[in-house]
Amino acid sequence: MLFFSQHLGLAGLLLLATFAQPWAGAAGLGAAALAVAGARLGGFRRDWTDLGAYSFNSLLVGLALPLYFAPGWALVGLVGLGAGLALLLSVALGGWLAGRGLPFLSLPFVLTIWLLLLGSHRLPQLLPAEASGAYWLNQAYALGGPPLANAARWVTEADWPALPAAYLRALAAVLLQDSPWAGLLVAAGLLWHSRITFILSLIAFLGTWGLGALTGGATDTYDLGANYVMGAVAVGAVFAVPSAGSYALALASLPLTAVVLAAADALLGAGGTSGGAGLPALSLPYCGTALLLLYVLLLRERPGQWLVLTPVQRYSPEANYYAQLAAPGQRPPLADYLPLGLPFLGEWRCTQGYADGGPTHQGPWGQALDFVVADAEGRTYQGNGLRLSDYYCFDKPVLAPADGVVEAVVQHLPDNAVGEVDTRHNWGNTVVLRHRPGLYSQLSHLRAHSVRVQPGQAVRRGQVLAACGSSGRSPEPHLHFQLQTAPAVGSPTLPYPFEAYLAQAAPASAPPLQPKPVVAATQVEAAPAAAPGELTLLGRPKDAEPLGWLAAGPGRPWRGAARPEVAGAASRSPAVTALPSELEPALGGVAAHQANATNAAPVALAAPATPAGAAMAFALETYTVPRAGQQVQPVRVLPGLARALRLPPGTRLAVQLAENPAAPLVWEVLTDAYNQRYLHCAASGAVAYFELEEALLRFTAYYGPRRGWLRELYLAAYQVPLCYLPAPRPVALPLPLLRLPGLGWLQDVAAPFGQFVRPVFSLQWPGPDPGPAARQLTLRSEVRLRYFGRERRLQAAELTVADGALATLTVHRAGQPPLRLAFSEVSA
């Protein structure tokens, strides 16, 4: 916790480093133990206690007090007091700051030391500490006689080059030690724990050095470097996801820290320079800098991509970084996201997307979608398209996108003849649903008198509301869909993503559309100037405040749909069979996997695999909106797969070797305080967090032993769409999961600036769509590592689901016998 870490190796080295001064080490250990015991007895947050969040300040207090007071019983008592005080302050500050999304850092430590120092004047039993060097030698002499004393002197006074020594002492100073050796231990621990932290500490130190050289200030006061290093690490790697931007911020924090430090020094009079209170600044400057920057960043309205604050603290910059890489745009953008589904069934085409510069969705009405049904050739009608009923989407059911209450219904307007528009009644027949206060959805241009619901009626997601028509400003049948913050028909639009849908890019080389029989009426549907009558009639609320998404909670950037897709263009023609598989699916959802999807078409069909059905070329999209030209359809979840992977809390799975069914392990599904589900292996203590969404099972984190069976499941089912997709888009795995010391560390060093070691998880469905009634499903997954243009397969796994339950898992790795696991559900 001291270095924002949960790394045991680092902890061990730090412990060792603190014992560079045995008294201090013992005091620190004792204080930390007291704090943990106190936190447990006090019944404070157990998870924070276990993380060490409540005890590290006590540890620091324990480490610091021997610097000021000579060892003795009085000191022991003081340490106990200090530990308790630090705990109280930790809990209190934690409660106060957590509400603002801020950490309390080492503020309790600073306050505790100040209080104790100020109060210590009244305790004559406390003797001021001797000069540490002499004290050290006395101890050594007493323990080992002259040889040890000499050795100790050599060790402490060895001739270190100035720069590294200053760096190491700065690191040691974090633990309130003054020894390059202790610093060396800390540095080694940091490198072990996190390359990013280590690099950043170096950068910060060198930056400080340079700053000192520029200003001519005294930078060799060793413990002052510590503030710079800690401040830089906190803002550059821990509370922000490491990136070029965060590194820049870390550098920018240095002068800030310098100013705060100088001011604190002057104010408190640590150096006795002025009439201050005679208190040391300790880590106050770092806390000040880090909290200031963090708070300011939290208050950004449009966080942007340059500097992303860590959404879930994983206590390792690497873990934060790779987790962020692995899941761009894969999280609900809002904490209170309303799961939104497509308002129709089957395949539709989006003809106007958000702010696409579309012809009719403009200005405040820009975040709306238009849908039609189009065939493989891109036509929206059959025959000559002169009758409304020639249009595929005409009279098709329009569904409620989410649960809600019907707010308004307009259904008396006639459908226009093809090519004509009704500019007086801009929106035509419309249903507005209220989902939440301030969140409404509007469905427009419905068929006359087709609305089946009444105002005030509660509707469920997927319920049929009306039929698609061509009323209002609609030259041909289509469905207009938007979300808005106000209940009035035609309110300004609100961007809001769908939970999940299948999308296929528009054919790039689509055959030219048949000349439309319609009048090319320039349709300006929502521009207010074009439809003044309608808008004034309905009274547009002026104070409608957009909420959600853009103005969403801080630190939850929503990465939009800016995802270039391989045009699934020709994928409907057999020519695609010959598509080279070099069309490599790029990482992290950069490119769709559609071309490969067709190559990997059903093996069972003896015919050369061709793009059977359009369904083959679809890719799963989550938390985004369709773009113009995309063919989209709702996800058809396979009931058997969903049942097997739903894993409600309380489920217990018995896992055993298929060959040797003795001694099953029991995994249990539990939830934590944040309602995150995880699988917990009682025997090994391994934990695998997962999220189950409408259409996707997604493992999010694994903690536990490297060879655990749970990790095998985690890797084999890292991300599984719950619907049939022959070859879903490969996803990036977080690198630390694979524990590759050589390549991995190299990647960590360069992490924020580029990724050249990429572990990729890919899934494949052998065979054709099993259909919802299939008894057994088989999923193949692979983990591949790509680095420097090379590719290596790390493992291949096969997961089978039988009769709606997980059945077996087989993992193949090069050079290892295959591991076969069998699952069975245990009744509790």
Partner: protein, 449 residues
């Protein structure tokens, strides 16, 4: 003067009398020189006459149109290609590529589907005549057996005993959907309680797993509402099974019977004017199923066994006039090189037949005879066609369904069948028969050699 009594008579309407603008405006006189983008004379020159032509583009379009019609109205729809309608492997594979399962009605078709790479669990085994061997094979490959009778249930129980996994079964139901002609010879009747009895017996059998309910209303059903009624009745049966027997029904199979645009014999209006759009069937079925009271996540899969509606439009028969003559009643008659031997559906439909040559003259009612030396070989009793001479070519439209499975090797041999792919290339998918082929299974006893 008293007029002599004349008995009232009913006379069949002949084509051409519908339009007040006279025969010139009648259907069928438009010359058609190209089918699916290919020139008719060129195809006939290359592959010989007569010739069956199938358009892959149209096959795919039809399958996609069906998916569109039903898929935009109901969340889970599955097509099972009705093999008997046209089981040329190339045709079946086009549909399988479009995602269709297979609906077979005999052991022969079952093997054909397996040979086309359809996984066993995507084969629905219908039909009233399943032998013990057929049932065993179906059980082995995990096909779904659509039970037709209690005797078949007993036979299946014997076959299923001792297998590692229960055999998957659907119960075929016949019901009153309000159609004048009720198909009650297949499956178990719903109204008299047999269907429920069968469901109970299957549910009680540990060796069988009830996965679906099936019904098939008839053929060329022109009444979309009947499908709605059938869907509602099947859904009610499925829910009864769920509530009373705790038996989830995975799918409801509404069979086929959807019409193509052909004109039924005796129909007052031509097919395109009469036949409802597939969308209307979809609307009726979806309405019934969505309103049946299933929980949204428990909606059963809707299986459709469309055949004719998908393949008829994609098939053409090209042929040549052999001779013409004047009948005693003055009508023109034309002898063609194809007849009911190839065009079995000539018994059912007044096929739309177009001349290839554009400037053939003024159309008049013509009788079209086939080449067989049989009185029944009439392709059209009367069709409006311009005067044709020997060597003139004709195109018969909408012949994709049933002809290439019900044709006869009678008197003469069967011709080439070609498929025009999406690029317009032609592929022979069934070669013209030869004397050796026909005689290959024949054996002549020694004493006759």
């Amino acid at each position: 003067m008293k007029l002599p009594y004349e008995r009232p008579t009913l006379r069949r309407l002949t084509a051409g009398t519908l339009s007040k603008f006279g025969p010139q405006a009648g259907a069928g006189v438009r010359p058609v020189a190209e089918v699916a983008g290919a020139s008719v004379p060129a195809l006939l020159a290359q592959f010989g006459s007569p010739l069956f032509v199938l358009s892959e583009r149209q096959l795919r379009r039809s399958a996609q149109a069906l998916r569109r019609s039903f898929g935009t109205r109901y969340p889970r729809v599955q097509l099972a290609w009705s093999y008997k309608t046209n089981y040329l492997n190339a045709v079946c594979r086009v549909f399988h590529q479009e995602g269709a399962w297979a609906e077979v009605v005999s052991g022969f078709e079952l093997e054909k589907a397996l040979g086309n790479g359809v996984p066993g669990h995507h084969i629905l085994f219908n039909g009233p005549s399943k032998t013990a061997a057929d049932l065993a094979r179906a059980a082995e490959v995990d096909a779904v057996v659509h039970l037709d009778s209690f005797d078949e249930l007993r036979a299946l129980l014997a076959v299923a005993a001792g297998r590692p996994r229960p055999v998957r079964v659907a119960v075929r139901v016949n019901l009153d959907a309000g159609l004048p002609q009720r198909w009650d010879r297949f499956g178990f009747n719903l109204e008299n309680g047999q269907a429920w009895q069968a469901v109970q017996q299957v549910a009680a059998a540990p060796d069988l797993a009830l996965v679906g309910l099936h019904c098939h209303l008839g053929t060329f059903v022109l009444e979309p509402a009947a499908y709605g009624t059938a869907a509602a009745k099947l859904a009610a049966l499925a829910q009864r099974a769920t509530h009373e027997l705790h038996q989830t029904i995975d799918y409801l199979d509404l069979g086929g019977g959807f019409p193509s645009l052909n004109t039924l014999k005796g129909s007052y209006l031509p097919g395109p004017d009469l036949v409802p759009d597939l969308d209307e069937y979809a609307a009726a079925v979806a309405e019934a199923l969505l309103g049946a009271g299933f929980a949204p996540e428990a909606l059963p899969l809707l299986v459709l066994e469309a055949g004719r509606a998908l393949v008829d439009e994609a098939g053409y028969l090209l042929g040549t006039v052999l001779a013409t003559k004047q009948l005693p009643d003055g009508r023109r008659a034309t002898v063609l090189d194809f007849g009911v031997n190839l065009l079995f559906t000539a018994y059912w439909y007044d096929h739309l037949i177009s001349p290839v040559r554009a400037d053939a003259g003024r159309p008049e009612p013509t009788v079209l005879y086939g080449p067989l030396c049989m009185n029944i070989d009439v392709v059209r009793e009367t069709a409006l066609l311009p005067p044709l001479g020997p060597g003139d070519q004709l195109v018969v439209h909408r012949v994709g369904a049933y002809n290439m499975s019900q044709w006869q090797q009678f008197i003469t041999l069967r011709p080439n069948v070609i498929l025009l792919d999406l690029q317009g290339n032609s592929h022979i998918i069934r070669e013209a028969e030869t004397l050796e082929y026909v005689q290959q299974p024949e054996r002549v006893p020694e004493h006759l050699l």
